[in-house]
Symmetry: C2
Subunit: 197 residues, 2 copies
């Protein structure tokens, strides 16, 4: 929940304002889930029980709201990894976490897709979110490598991106996604560099 890049405002937010920000993020999550990323700003304000001006005060662009929702969930994802790492063998933790991460992306696939299409605004932002997850996965990978469970040449960032994109087809293709991730993990156990062509 505590975001890595939470800009601390010059003058701290007033109590009511802080409450409204919370309500807006929560409301946005609800409405996005119900109506998709293209949900109307008005509906989000309504759901949060505030006026549109309030929404715009805290999130100057529609897209800032999308981002805030994602950020919120990314934070949760990081926490999950720490819990798993503490409770399982390295390879299990890795596999389990990728499942979680996969579920996360599936849920948010609409939002994730928006990150890709809206040229300027979002360029690099998806990347920024991934960067926050990277150390998390990297730790899991290191664990698995130390345990001798894999040797593949792909980095944590590579994998994050791969899984993120593998997951975008939508919730109805979990089987497909699983198969592809299995394929990737299988490939990871080899040294891919020399086998192409």
């Amino acid at each position: 929940m505590t975001s890595r890049n939470e800009a601390v405002p010059q003058t701290p937010l007033r109590a009511d304002a802080r409450r409204n920000v919370e309500a807006l993020i929560e409301g946005a999550r609800t409405v996005f889930a119900r109506d998709g990323v293209d949900a109307h700003v008005k509906d989000i304000a309504l759901e949060a029980g505030v006026g549109v001006a309030t929404l715009y005060r805290h999130f100057p662009k529609r897209t800032d709201l999308v981002l805030a929702v994602l950020q919120h969930d990314v934070d949760e994802c990081v926490e999950t990894a720490q819990e798993l790492a503490a409770a399982h063998t390295p390879m299990d933790a890795l596999t389990l976490w990728l499942d979680r991460y996969c579920a996360f992306v599936l849920t948010k696939h609409g939002l994730a897709a928006a990150l890709q299409s809206g040229e300027a605004t979002f360029a690099g932002l998806g990347a920024q979110l991934l960067e926050q997850l990277e150390p998390t996965l990297d730790e899991l990978l290191q664990g698995a490598r130390v345990a001798g469970a894999m040797e593949g040449g792909a980095s944590a960032m590579d994998l994050l991106r791969a899984v993120a994109h593998l997951c975008t087809p939508g919730p109805s293709h979990i089987d497909y996604t699983r198969r592809m991730i299995t394929l990737l993990l299988t490939g990871l156990r080899q040294d891919p560099a020399t086998q192409r062509g």
Copy 2:
């Protein structure tokens, strides 16, 4: 270029209308490339040298235009496969074609992303395009299997989707994409089903 699902109109298009449709697709391709998928309808009409009403007559929804452009390129992609299959060994043809396909998706990644986010309108349409590519890739895969070059359990559709999604990060990550595809191909040479966990 000749699309698989080109609805034949009851009364054939008048000559000028046919010309305008061409101009619109071409213009849309240009403007999308320049301004992104969210380009203004007006600009597209301008580029094509027609009024907006003309655009709407032929493409009732903005998105129909996006689709038309994609369709156009998918057709080209299919042709390429046939040429490659005729000129190379099965595994080479497969690898080369995946490179082409990859380039195709990279170029169109904005359009492709739009397919994912705009919930209702596009749902299943990305899939429809992929279905047109499927027999193409399937033939290449069969060729490679017959030649004994692979045995993996992923289907043509699986691969198409995987590559499509691997390519979405954007043009600046060709290295990443290559590595991931290599990883997939490596995994494909194994029997993935039993190796997970």
